[in-house]
Subunit: 331 residues, 2 copies
Amino acid sequence: MPKYRRIVLASRPSGPVTPENFRLETIDTPAVADGQFLVRNHYLSLDPYMRGRMNESRSYAASQPLNETMVGGTAGEVVESRHSRFTVGDQVVAYLGWQEYGLSDGTGVYKADTTHLPLSAYLGPVGMPGVTAWYGLNRIIAAKAGNTVVVSAASGAVGSVVGQLARLAGCRAIGIAGGAEKCTYVAGELGFDACIDYKHEDVAKSLKALAPDGVDGYFENVGGEILNAVLPRMNAFGRIALCGMIAGYDGQPTPITNPTWFLISRLKLEGFIITEHMDVWPVALRELGGLVARGKLRYRETVAPGLENAPAAFIGLLKGQNFGKQLVKLV
Amino acid sequence: MPKYRRIVLASRPSGPVTPENFRLETIDTPAVADGQFLVRNHYLSLDPYMRGRMNESRSYAASQPLNETMVGGTAGEVVESRHSRFTVGDQVVAYLGWQEYGLSDGTGVYKADTTHLPLSAYLGPVGMPGVTAWYGLNRIIAAKAGNTVVVSAASGAVGSVVGQLARLAGCRAIGIAGGAEKCTYVAGELGFDACIDYKHEDVAKSLKALAPDGVDGYFENVGGEILNAVLPRMNAFGRIALCGMIAGYDGQPTPITNPTWFLISRLKLEGFIITEHMDVWPVALRELGGLVARGKLRYRETVAPGLENAPAAFIGLLKGQNFGKQLVKLV
């Protein structure tokens, strides 16, 4: 019987995630029933939201069950099929989790056209992170030409798209990232107007210097102290799209120290989960795919080789050690 | 030369407002020039936003200048006029500040029809507080029948209208107020479904019991600990209208301890100042006036007699000692 490897959640973290929270297992490859197909996963997507799923407490999605395959987006190839719409050789984007193979009945799976785009892009700028950026910028921040837009985790899979789309829309884009290398990438290769290195700069001070006329839109990927530094710089009627709260995932939320700013500056803040806005995916993916194919939207990937390296890569992601989209390459 | 009395800002508060921050003065009644009219103020409106104006720091409006008449809404009668639209005997709502008389060129002044409504109602449910409630409930919370709406400072000029409008829209209305007397009024006379006495109850616990299915809309008049207690009870896609932050006015903002809720529950929070939404005033005032005239919208006033009592009444308002709309009656 053919076998493959998967990673399950072994225990829930109390505090920071550790390698012991995961367990690598070898299991039997399941038989493909009528209406199903088997996918060999080429790439796993690692994303901050997975941290929330690891908690038992109420989160924005169901908890990841213990001893079951870690959830997550995947991109791979159909290797066996008894399904009418999917045939062997199809490249597909799916949600099969941290495992080398996965069985599907086609729900939520779509084919990836790799003529002009590499398969992995469908887990990055032309996938969930890209659509997240698109939605927050266009639907919540509602960025207009001339606006100043700030984004945290600016070199990441979401943040990098936010700033580039903002630039394309005629906005000033200011990134916040950790370390000189990431900042050089953001302001150089990605073409942001500026990037603040939160590890070596006083964010509030740098933001005042870089955005003397204030900030109209803030795309929050991180939470915590950066939000507190940005709030006082927000212009009247500023919009904050709240997409991530990494700083709070370890059970130690960072308070918003002075919420009076929401009133003083009549701010709007909105949290969102992109999978609840499926209506925008087609239009967003079409736009993002076109931009990537034409070289107008750049991205970077950090690729961990082999399933066994997924836990360490994920822990690194939570600490901001990745550079761009964090993937695990299985094939 | 006729004289009248006014109250000026003598000094800016450092911490809580004290009577010494104000000064009562007697000044000459100004001559009425062409295009102007003189109003004898019958009522002054005292409102929490005035606290923000007393600070020098950037607030949601220009600072109240030192040694000038304290700003504020007024209702009174035209006693002398060289203006084409206003004649002696007209009842008018204006923004003439803490003084017994005031000169106007008509800007922002409107006539009050007192056939079916008392003049003072134009400073309460059929004035700025009423429109504030209307806007937050209809435009930000966007309350729908069946929703559960919570409002803090529920017996106050704004909160009392929020809950009653919510009930009229088919919502469940839960008030939060300080003390048994206010709560009895809110749940009894005003007809809210329930009222939580934050001085004697654990708000989080009571809210859980009273809103077992969660909260869809929260109208925030207070800020501080009550917001922290309500946040975890908000349903997915809940809306928070942020209208007041009394708790923060004394320079001691109360942090939002766990902003992760905004993401977990995909909440929207929006701060607003009603004078920036003048487009809604006509429709809101028409609706509110009709409801008050037909006895469908109840309200209560706390009336301080005489200009000299305005500072003490204002300090009491900031401490929640008023009951309903706080007015100063001059005539």
